[in-house]
Every structure is written in structure tokens, then in C-alpha cells.
């Protein structure tokens, strides 16, 4: 059979990268995505080391320095209780990211499980689950979150649960459709032909191949979760004072917006930049993960 053994190594000279490397390589080419990634990394850094890098305490009131404009001592000025806005923003990043990631985590776990079961088993199970999801989807997400928080009471944990649960249908749908499309692929049949059990097929073949759209949706989801949480805090259903939350800060500053716009300007900017960065990153990842756009 020697003639079947390859004789000439004609392919060569082209770099081969690992899959993660390939994705990062393609991500690097999009400046917007890189900007997004940088902002997200900075935010994570701020959240982790808030105690070290924040110049002041987030809660210490200083009534002799109320409504101060940005100065060398207070880089972004102070609020109505004389608290340093920059420090509050830095601590606020901690809350926002926590809410964003944990809420998406909850949504992804519950939604992913429901979606995977729906997609893999199909039939009446699928029908049942997806109809419940349809009902949830027909209620505006914010309204749903408000209802859940109202039932559970305000607080960080309840906020995350509310935002998370209100996003479950989105994840259930996306996981289901990507499981469905992978389940129909020939390599799943090939795995069955060599005797692979269901559990191995799901874990080894279906899940790794359905990650791409889920990662993208999660990145975008973090942004909408942060926005949702800020919205709930703004109307007083989220984080309670004095803990700094961007939405709550925005809400607290709104009565002074005519005289001291910096109270609302900076938290607003923080929210906007974060959301924008996450969306850029999500879009970049979508392009980088799509093998059809390769080359």
C-alpha cells in the first residue's frame, strides 16, 4: 500500500494556529472590537482592585465639599453628599459587572439547559418548553424584571435573579437553535455509528460546536443586563444606597441636573461606554467566530 502513503509534502509554509489563536488573530483586526476588549479589561481591573485604586471611600460623606466641580482632589467632582464621584464610579463598576456577569450566568445556565433539552429531544418536550418561553418573550423584558424584583424585594441578589430570569427565553432559543443545527450534522451520525452514547455526543460533539453563537449572545447579553440593572436601580428597585450603582447614581443626580450636570454626566458616560464596548466586542466576536467569514 505504499503508493497510498503520502509522497510529497506539498502543503507547507502556511501558519497553522490553534482555534483560540485563530479567533484572537481575527479579533485583532477589528479596531472597534479591540477597543471594546480593552474597556472591558479595564473595567474588570477596576472592579477587582477598587479598594486599592479608588482615591476615596465610596460612602464617606463630606458635607463641606458638596457639589464640587472636578478638581485635582476630586477628579470627577463630588455629589450631593460630598462623596467622590470617581471612587463611586470605580466601585460601581464592581456592581455593574457583577450584575452583568452573574445575571447572564443565571440566564445562560437555566436557558441553556432548557434549550439544550428542547433541541436534543424535540417532540412534546420541545413544544412545551418553547411555548412557555414564547409566553415569557411576549412580556417586555424590563417589565418582567420589575415584576420579579417587586415580588422578591430590592437588593443586589434579587436584582441579578430578576435580570437573569427575564433573559432566560433569549438564551433558551439561541441554544436550542444551535443544538438543532449541530444535531443534524453528519458527524453526529458518524459518532452514533461507532457506538457513542448520547451523553458523550452532547458533551463532546454538540456543545463545543454550538458555543460560538452562545458566546456572542452572552457578551451582548452582559451589556443589556447592565443596562437593565441600571434601569431598575434608577427607579429604586435595584441596589440600595449608599452602595454606588451607576443607575442609582444617575437617578440620585437627576434633581440637580440643571446646576450640577457632572453628577449625572459621569455615571451616564460610564454606562454608555461600557455598553458600547461590550457591543463592539460582541460584534467583533461574532465575526471572528464565524468560520464562513474566514479569509
Amino acid at each position: 500500500m505504499n503508493e497510498n502513503v503520502e509522497m510529497v509534502a506539498t502543503t507547507g509554509g502556511r501558519k497553522t494556529r490553534s482555534q483560540l489563536g485563530e479567533v484572537l488573530f481575527r479579533l485583532r483586526k477589528s479596531p472597534l472590537a479591540m477597543f471594546g476588549l480593552a474597556v472591558v479589561l479595564i473595567l474588570i481591573f477596576c472592579a477587582l482592585f477598587a479598594d486599592v485604586i479608588a482615591p476615596h471611600s465610596y460612602s464617606k460623606q463630606n458635607l463641606s465639599h458638596m457639589f464640587e466641580a472636578p478638581s485635582r482632589q476630586y477628579l470627577l467632582g463630588t455629589d450631593e453628599f460630598g462623596r467622590d464621584i470617581l471612587s463611586r464610579l470605580i466601585y460601581g463598576a464592581r456592581v455593574s459587572l457583577q450584575v452583568g456577569f452573574i445575571a447572564v450566568g443565571i440566564a445562560l445556565f437555566v436557558g441553556g439547559l432548557l434549550g439544550a433539552v428542547s433541541g436534543y429531544y424535540g417532540g412534546w418536550i420541545d413544544n412545551g418548553i418553547m411555548r412557555v418561553m414564547d409566553v415569557l418573550l411576549s412580556i417586555p423584558q424590563t417589565l418582567l424584571a420589575i415584576a420579579i424584583v417587586a415580588a422578591l424585594g430590592p437588593g443586589l441578589m434579587n436584582l441579578m435573579i430578576a435580570v437573569g430570569i427575564s433573559a432566560v427565553p433569549n438564551y433558551a432559543r439561541i441554544v436550542r437553535s444551535s443544538v438543532l443545527s449541530i444535531r443534524g450534522m453528519e458527524f453526529i451520525e458518524a459518532a452514533r455509528a461507532v457506538g457513542s452514547p448520547d451523553i458523550r455526543i452532547i458533551l463532546k460533539h454538540i456543545l463545543p460546536n454550538s458555543m460560538a453563537p452562545i458566546i456572542v449572545q452572552s457578551t451582548l447579553g452582559v451589556a443589556s443586563a447592565i443596562l437593565n440593572a441600571a434601569g431598575l436601580s434608577f427607579i429604586g428597585l435595584g441596589i440600595q444606597p449608599p452602595y454606588p450603582e451607576w443607575g442609582a447614581m444617575l437617578s440620585g443626580g437627576r434633581q440637580y441636573i440643571r446646576d450640577y450636570p457632572h453628577l449625572t454626566l459621569y455615571p451616564g458616560l460610564a454606562i454608555m461606554i461600557t455598553i458600547l464596548a461590550l457591543n463592539f466586542l460582541g460584534d467583533g466576536l461574532r465575526d471572528a467566530l464565524d468560520p464562513k467569514l474566514k479569509r
Binding site: 509522497m7 502543503t11 502556511r14 479569509r295
Partner: protein, 330 residues
């Protein structure tokens, strides 16, 4: 490779097309020379990645840019260089003078438009006719390709693959083009349907006097439909000649290998002879003759010098100096 200039419909000179990607430059077509006379049918044969489709896209200027780049050369159609035309002129040439048929009929038909409207659309684009005249001409055209009147108002999904390809042919021929480029027109079809469609194309070609470039990997189809054949390998033409001469007497080592790897219907053999190795990486083509690493006739010079076309019989050219010398033609 010279013909009386007046008989030439298409004259491609030193065409070079590259795709520039992040991982490197794909040398899709390299210094291609090709001629097509009026009323002739040319078969362009080669494996995946040989540059057949890229050549066709180059002629119709449908090359995706980026990543496609025409690096040089001329494409003289009716004496005028297509590469110098602006987009406005190209639009009237495409469909009007040069029509193209693709492999998958579904992708070239609009799923939400009835088939007679799609043919009429083409006619209206290139001729000054009223809606009803266009529809009447469309009906005649569809009748010609074997689609009955009662099916005119059907949508593409209501047709089978073979019937869809007939509609595509009707669209392509609606404006009586001078050149028809068919890119694997029957690859997606079954053998018995393929036979119908090829028969139809042959008849129509005769009727309209259209020149045709038929891109295929099937040597059998070429034998039945084409006057001339060009064999492509790694973006270059390696052998060219009239079909009879080339099929009776293939001479380039690649062509010979290609013919031998097709199982013969008449004879039994235990083992097919194969060309050793694989197609070269189009980003990293071997120097000199691109085929030399796989070639049993290769000499030292083959890795240095790029072979030129040598006429070994009247109208039969090969890009292999070694074989030409063996035939006493170098």
C-alpha cells in the same frame, strides 16, 4: 495559438488573478492565454482550485473584490478589453453579450418571482420592449427549453433541479448572447437529467450560434459537447487543443494522469493509476512548472523555468518542454 483575428470572439492574454488574504496570496490564475473562436465550444477542465471558475469570473468581471485582484493581462472580447470597461458598460455586456450559468440553479433564481417574470426581467434589461412583449418573448424562450405554457407562472421551488436549470438556461439565452459561460451546469443534476440538459444546450447552441465556455471536471461531458479543450492545473493552462486531438493523444503528464485516474467503463482494471501527491498549495506554488514535484518526466530544469506553450500538432499545445522534446517538437 493564433487565429485570424476576425474569427476570434475571446482572446485572453497573460491573465493573472490573485486573491489576497490574511494568510497569503492565492495564485488563482497565472499568466493564462486562451482563445475562443466564434461559434466554438471550449471545455475548461481541471480539479478544484485549478482556477477555472476564477477565469470565468474574470471574464464577466464578477470577481469578488476584495480579495480578488486582477494583476495583469488582457481579456479581449470582440476586440475590446473587458478589463478596461466601466461598471456601466459591463452591466450591458453581462447578460446581453456574455451570459453565465452557475452550478446551483437555486442560487441564481429569485425564489419570490415567477419564472416567466425572471426571464422577462432579463429581456427588459437589455432590450427596449414593453412588459407584455417581454413576457411573450419569455414564454417563447421557456418553451424552447422545454417548459410548458401552464408552468410559466410557477415559482422556482415548484420545479425540480433539472427544470430549474432549464429556466436558468432560458434566462442566459434570452438576449441572444455571443458567449455563454457555463460553470459546472450539470454537476448538481442526476445522470439522466444531465443527459437531457446537455442535449438541450447542444441544440440551443447550434440554433443560436452561441460560443460557449463549459467549465467542468467531467472529461466525458467535454468529449460530447466541446470542440476545443483546455486543461488547467494550478491556475495555468497545461494543455490545449481540439477535443479529438487531445483526447486521442493527451501529452502533458498531468493530462495523461487525469485521464488514467478515471475508471474506464469499457475495460476492467484492478487498480487505477494515480498521480502521486496532492494539488499544490495555491499560496505556495512550486517554482518553474507547478506540476514538476508530481511529475514522472520532471527534469532539473522543470523546477527553474516556467514552461511555455509548445505546438505539438496543428492546434494542439502543451506546456511541457520535456514531452515536446520527446515528440521532436522543441
Amino acid at each position: 495559438m493564433t487565429m485570424n483575428a476576425n474569427d476570434l470572439l475571446l482572446d485572453i492574454r497573460e491573465l493573472t488573478i490573485h486573491y489576497v488574504t490574511d494568510n497569503g496570496t492565492v495564485h488563482a490564475v497565472e499568466g493564462l492565454n486562451l482563445e475562443l473562436g466564434r461559434g466554438e465550444t471550449l471545455g475548461l477542465v481541471g480539479e478544484t482550485g485549478a482556477g477555472k471558475t476564477t477565469t470565468a469570473l474574470g471574464i464577466t468581471r464578477l470577481l469578488p473584490v476584495p480579495p480578488g485582484v486582477v494583476r495583469g493581462g488582457q481579456i479581449l472580447f470582440d476586440g475590446e478589453d473587458v478589463l478596461l470597461k466601466d461598471e456601466e458598460e459591463m452591466r450591458s455586456i453581462r447578460g446581453g453579450k456574455i451570459a453565465m450559468i452557475f452550478q446551483d440553479p437555486m442560487t441564481s433564481l429569485n425564489p419570490v418571482m415567477t419564472v416567466d417574470k425572471q426571464v422577462a426581467e432579463m429581456i427588459k434589461l437589455h432590450r427596449k420592449v414593453s412588459e407584455s412583449e417581454a413576457l411573450e418573448q419569455a414564454a417563447e424562450m421557456l418553451d424552447l427549453v422545454g417548459i410548458r405554457r401552464e408552468r410559466l407562472r410557477d415559482y422556482p421551488h415548484q420545479f425540480s433541479g433539472g427544470m430549474k436549470q432549464r429556466v436558468v438556461i432560458a434566462i442566459a439565452l434570452a438576449c441572444d448572447p455571443k458567449l455563454l459561460i457555463a460553470d459546472e451546469p450539470t454537476t448538481a443534476l442526476d445522470v439522466t437529467i444531465q443527459a437531457q440538459v446537455l442535449e438541450l444546450m447542444k441544440n440551443l447552441k447550434r440554433q443560436f450560434g452561441t460560443s460557449m465556455i463549459l467549465i467542468t471536471h467531467d472529461l466525458g461531458i467535454v468529449a460530447e459537447t466541446c470542440d476545443k479543450v483546455g486543461i488547467m492545473y494550478a491556475g495555468r493552462l497545461v494543455e490545449y487543443g481540439d477535443t479529438k486531438s487531445l483526447y486521442d493523444n493527451p501529452n502533458h503528464p498531468y493530462t495523461v494522469g487525469l485521464f488514467k485516474s478515471v475508471p474506464d467503463l469499457e475495460e476492467d482494471c484492478d487498480e487505477l493509476s494515480v498521480i502521486p501527491g496532492l494539488m499544490p498549495d495555491p499560496m505556495d506554488l512550486p517554482s518553474g512548472c507547478a506540476f514538476h514535484p508530481r511529475c514522472s518526466h520532471a527534469e532539473e530544469a522543470c523546477s527553474r523555468e516556467r514552461p511555455v506553450m509548445i505546438e505539438i500538432e496543428p492546434g494542439h499545445f502543451i506546456a511541457c518542454p520535456v514531452r515536446a522534446r520527446a515528440l521532436g517538437k522543441a
